[in-house]
């Protein structure tokens, strides 16, 4: 009897499952909606993408629903876990160029043919010519679809410095600008600045960095300010430290400084000297379930107008040459955005472009040395 009851309940469970399954198959064609999961950085950056890309695209394509996932900071690790588990739930991931190189090398993302996959400029220039030089192939890889050029640069408290800093080398001059400064807790960028301020000409930077003496020299320069540095790991830290008066100057992403100065109205000014350019863009995970739909979206979201639109919401420079003249006013503040772009000629008198290939080679060993240098007094 017990057995009979058991099998009976099993049967009814089966039937229930069947009904549910039938329900699912019955309803899914009706909704006919494709959901794209797009991974980005959250905060103001995701909002700018929502306004410039996602919302217009969903309006044009009622069948597409875009879901934001704000875990780009762990994008590389999570993407690798998904690909290894053969269960890729992400459709598109926002990454900085250095991470995209790693992802491409590891075969985690799709390769791109710019002229086939990306829209040409309005005047017909193919995408491969329209994107800024080298931005489509960082480190010799071909998976990266750049959106913006951002820079890591310095901001300083106008009211807390006696003399205004004019050069990036003032960061290393404790006499001219006494007080704490915030630097990124990573060798990348800091090594370049330290060497420039030790008298190495810019064209020789990476040649000098390839020698042990060169790296020693950089650390020696960093030694001179080590006791006055607060090291940051998240882009939001420097604006907070500046606002609290904890530091007199500090490096961070230029968009963060823009928001601190123009939106939060803090007494802070930009020091664009030798800003370090970097790229941020899309990669398409390998094995994603909506490959065709995602490619359509990417084609739309990286066209000339869309990239220019994003600059209305955040002060990062579009990666297409043809977008630059279309950059207008800030959507809510109503101020002209062009003077706040890192790519604006006035701000870009002196700039550093990362040598991605060099960093791909040396990042691991230099990170170790940098961390050892930090940990030991």
């Amino acid at each position: 009897m017990k057995k009979l009851l058991k099998s009976g309940s099993a049967l009814s469970a089966l039937a229930a499952a069947g009904i549910i399954a039938a329900g699912v198959t019955a309803t899914s064609p009706v909704s006919a909606q494709t959901t794209l999961t797009i991974v980005s950085w959250g905060g103001a950056y995701s909002k700018s993408q929502q306004n410039a890309y996602h919302d217009p695209y969903m309006k044009l394509n009622p069948g597409i629903k875009i879901i934001n996932d704000d875990s780009a900071a762990e994008g590389l690790a999570k993407l690798r876990a998904q690909v290894e588990a053969k269960n890729v739930t992400w459709d598109l991931v926002d990454m900085v160029a250095a991470s995209a190189i790693t992802a491409c090398d590891d075969g985690l993302v799709e390769t791109i043919d710019p002229d086939r996959d990306l829209a040409p400029a309005p005047d017909g220039t193919p995408a491969s010519k329209d994107f800024l030089e080298g931005t489509l192939t960082p480190g010799g890889t071909n998976c990266f679809i750049p959106q913006i050029v951002y820079s890591t640069t310095f901001g300083y408290r106008i009211d807390k410095v006696k003399t205004k800093p004019t050069s990036v080398c003032d960061v290393f001059d404790l006499k001219k600008i006494p007080g704490k400064r915030a630097l990124e807790k990573a060798p990348i960028g800091n090594i370049e600045w330290a060497l420039l301020c030790s008298g190495v000409p810019q064209k020789d930077l990476y040649k000098v960095m390839s020698t042990k003496e060169g790296i020693d020299k950089a650390f020696k320069k960093l030694d001179t300010i080590k006791s006055s540095v607060i090291w940051w790991t998240k882009g939001a830290q420097t604006p907070q430290l500046l606002a609290d008066g904890e530091v007199v100057m500090g490096s961070t992403y230029n968009g963060r400084l823009f928001s601190l100065i123009e939106e939060k109205k803090q007494p802070v000014a930009m020091l664009w000297d030798y800003q370090v350019f970097d790229l941020d863009g899309w990669v398409i995970p390998k094995g994603g379930k909506n490959l065709a739909e995602v490619k359509k979206f990417v084609r739309f979201a990286t066209d000339t107008q869309r990239l220019a639109d994003q600059a209305k919401y955040i002060s990062y420079g579009p990666a297409r040459k043809s977008s630059a003249p279309l950059v207008g006013k800030h959507a809510t503040l109503g101020i002209d955005m062009a003077p706040h772009m890192p790519t604006n000629p006035k701000n870009a008198k002196t700039t550093i472009l990362f040598n991605y290939e060099w960093w791909a080679d040396n990042r691991a060993s230099l990170d170790e040395r940098f961390n050892a240098w930090l940990a030991k007094k």
Binding site: A73, D105, K180, A360, D361
Partner: protein, 426 residues
Amino acid sequence: MAAGTAGTNTENAPLMTADGVPLKQSLQRALRQKRRGAFLLTLPLLVFIFIFFVAPIADMMFRSIENEVVGKYIPRTVAALKDWDATSGELPDEKVFAALVEDIKIGRKDRTIGKVARRLNYEIAGMSSLFRSTARRVARLDEGPYKEALIAIRPQWGELETWQLIQRESGKYTASYYLAAVDARFDNAGNIVAQPEERQIYTFLFGRTMAMSLSITLLCILLGFPIAYLLATLPLRYAALLMILVLLPFWTSLLVRTTAWIAMLQQQGVINDLLVLVGIISDEGRLQLIHNKTGTLIAMTHILLPFMILPLYSVMKTIPPSYMRAARSLGATQARAFIKVYLPQTLSGMGAGTILVFILSIGFYITPALVGGTSGTFISNYIADHVSTTLNWGLAAALGVMLLALVLALYLIYDKAVGIDNMKLG
């Protein structure tokens, strides 16, 4: 009487139950059924623990020695290198170079050569661009001699070091990650040597993590003991109020508490402002209380304090006050009575608190990352960095396994010294 015979001569006359089955058998069956029932009840938990706890840890542990990339993606080169004597002082012959060219061509097409490049770059900086730039140019290389051609592309192909590395890392398993985790490496001859001075970091970090966790545990005992004592001895309504003061921060999010400490401790923060206002320090001489060791010690002690107070309190609650009174009436001073009578009875709670706080703090991650600056970060911060940024999961796994082994070793020492059975969690 019957039992007596059964006891002396079981084989002839076993005890029977009413339905004729030997009693022993029947009892065993009942016991087995009970056990099976109990097992089935815990089965969901066991499955859960296995899937979400044991299996991932085992997988991570395996990654710390796993090394299939090189052998899997440049198999021809590895096979051809088998006959090469790494100590001969001569480069491998043409056959090896030809195999490598073929491997790289296929690897470029399948997009697997990047994996080899990244794997080898962990050992020698520069391997990444060596493989990738060679891959870009080797496509046009259709006929030999490949040796000269490859060396012309990148001179590193003419260096013994490169080939010794490939041969060394071609096995299925490697000790390289563990060596890296203790600041050592293989030299070109395959001997284990220390990393160059300026790259030694992990042993130092392990030491610092241990030292700071110990300090935090001691601070928790020092601060937690009096509070637990008060909680256990105060009249109920005051004790309840105090308990809320202990539990309220305990229930608050870790991040919120950490951020609150940043606002309190920073140079323009509440504590420094107060000290300047009172005149203890000058405006220029504001104390650096955060972004260093001090910051981590203060914030983590505060966060972990409840884990010390609660077990202590639960033990102290059970100590009858009459014991202390008895000791006093027998002539002991207050201090002697406390040390000889009261303190030993709290040891089990203190042991539980100590082990909880210590093990929790050794793996702490977010608080040291936010308030630790450079001198107050833990090994866990570097493990996280290898998992999420550098994607060197082998090294992260090796560091993690070492941390796990360290905790287990300490646990065993604790068990030997104090006895784990004496521990009371509540």
